[in-house]
């Protein structure tokens, strides 16, 4: 499983200069991050060391019950992979953000996020103790202290993760197609709340068995 080949890649670079970002933060391996992104701002996630799954949810910042929907997103574009041009659609049908640059090529939104319980099913009942994304999500929304709970931990994007589906209806987890320094960049189409778990999974190749830090950057909307 060393394939770096993907079909339908759509590589687009950004012209934004990291020096001019208004916010920069390195998210350590296994940590959560929660932050508001304003309409018009640009939001970039950088895979610093390569093949790191970044489990990400978005919410309408003014109504958390209206949140990112994997099914609405893939249905609207008629394609299961996320890349430049993809509109990230909410359960209410709104466009939360648009992917405007992507040097990885495609991202997954069917694989979900790991949990203590799903690890028990997938790998072994003895894996319950292992750190997992949905624990990070719960910790982050509890500390955010805006009334969010497990009810709000719904579908997510796995940036930099490669989960192909075959025409026969099989779903496979393949080695990542990302490399150090690859990034994805979005423009917020409304005020959104971003919730990330920098995935701690050690049981499958989604992080190349070695979770690593990622960087998030935010730029203000260009002045016109």
């Amino acid at each position: 499983m060393s394939t770096k080949e993907v079909t339908a890649v759509n590589l687009v670079e950004s012209g934004l200069d990291p020096v001019k970002a208004v916010y920069r933060k390195v998210i350590p391996a296994g940590d959560p991050w929660i932050h508001e992104i304003k309409r018009g701002q640009y939001f970039r996630i950088v895979d610093l060391h390569g093949n790191q799954a970044v489990d990400t949810l978005f919410y309408n910042a003014h109504d958390y019950s209206d949140r990112y929907s994997a099914q609405d997103t893939i249905q609207r574009q008629g394609n299961i992979y996320l890349t430049t041009g993809t509109q990230l659609v909410s359960t209410g049908g709104a466009v939360l953000l648009t992917i405007v640059a992507d040097t990885c090529g495609r991202h997954d939104t069917l694989g979900g996020a790991c949990a203590n319980e799903s690890n028990m099913v997938r790998y072994s009942i003895e894996k319950r103790h292992m750190h997992a994304c949905r624990s990070s999500f719960l910790k982050a929304v509890t500390e955010w202290d805006h009334g969010m709970s497990k009810r709000d931990i719904t579908s997510n994007i796995n940036f930099f993760m490669n989960v192909p589906v075959t025409p026969e209806g099989k779903l496979t987890f393949e080695d990542g197609i990302s490399d150090p320094g690859k990034y994805v960049e979005m423009r917020a189409e409304m005020d959104v709340l971003a919730l990330i778990s920098n995935c701690p999974q050690l049981n499958n190749p989604c992080n190349a068995y070695n979770p690593t830090p990622v960087e998030v950057l935010i730029w203000d909307a260009p002045q016109s």
């Binding site: 394609n79 299961i80 069917l110 979900g112 949990a115 319980e117 579908s155």
Partner: protein, 238 residues
């Protein structure tokens, strides 16, 4: 198919909603009466509805992007809500999601109750929310759904294609409840159905008592993950 007596059968009309708490030890059979039906469905642990169907966990535990006999529907807590114990169709869609008001108006035009009475156009999202509301649930509980009787195939480039003619008149699928499962259903058309006409189809639902899954149950044995899923589900009832 289980052949124990039918305790309750009912028709879900085209474009209608339905819900019921499927008790552990019963099975729900859904029959496509005319062919070409679509049933949007979401499942919850009735005792704690914040535990609900998790599409990604279901797909990745079984390495599937379709549902048929031998596969199970996982909750987000590592437990099995229901098992597909029989199926004459071979493919039920977990990817395509549901329609909303904007999509239905764009595809089929506006059709209000005042004009059309109960033939007025329904959409999947509003249907789910209405039926969820009856159980005190709402938009925060609206998660990814499955579409019984529909097939969406995915090409190598990720393109999704609705496959017409997937289900014929008389086809059926049987879901055995492994917990006390709140089932929220509607018969709205699949959102990717290219049929230009508003043409939802009726289905028949049947409830039976069925035997508990034994040690040799095909769903339990279909994958080692499912063996652990059944163990975790059985522990919940200890």
């Amino acid at each position: 198919m289980s052949e124990t007596p039918i305790l309750w059968d009912e028709t879900i009309q085209p474009g209608a909603t339905w819900s019921h708490v499927l008790k552990r030890g019963t099975a729900l059979r859904v029959v496509d009466v005319e062919g070409g039906a679509n049933v949007g469905a979401i499942f919850y642990n009735f005792e704690c509805p914040v535990e609900r169907f998790n599409m990604p966990d279901t797909l990745k535990a079984q390495h599937i992007a379709r549902l048929t006999t031998g596969f199970v529907l996982y909750s987000d807590m590592g437990r099995i809500l229901c098992s597909v114990t029989a199926d004459t169709v071979g493919w039920h869609d977990p990817l395509g999601g549901t329609s909303n008001k904007e999509l239905v108006e764009k595809k089929y035009g506006v059709s209000t109750y005042q004009e059309s009475r109960n033939e007025c156009h329904k959409n999947g999202r509003d249907s789910f929310l209405i039926e969820l509301g009856k159980w005190g649930l709402g938009p925060r509980d609206l998660v990814a759904n499955v579409n019984l009787f529909s097939r969406v195939s995915v090409a190598d480039d990720g393109g999704m294609r609705f496959v017409p003619g997937n289900s014929k008149a008389g086809d059926s699928v049987e879901l055995r409840a492994e917990m006390n499962v709140l089932a929220i259903l509607n018969t709205c058309q699949h959102p990717l159905d290219p049929n230009p006409k508003y043409q939802p189809k009726p289905v028949q639902v049947e409830i039976r008592r069925v035997a508990a899954p034994g040690v040799d149950d095909p769903c339990r044995l279909s994958r080692p993950e499912n063996g652990r899923g059944f163990t975790l589900t059985e522990r919940y009832f200890l």
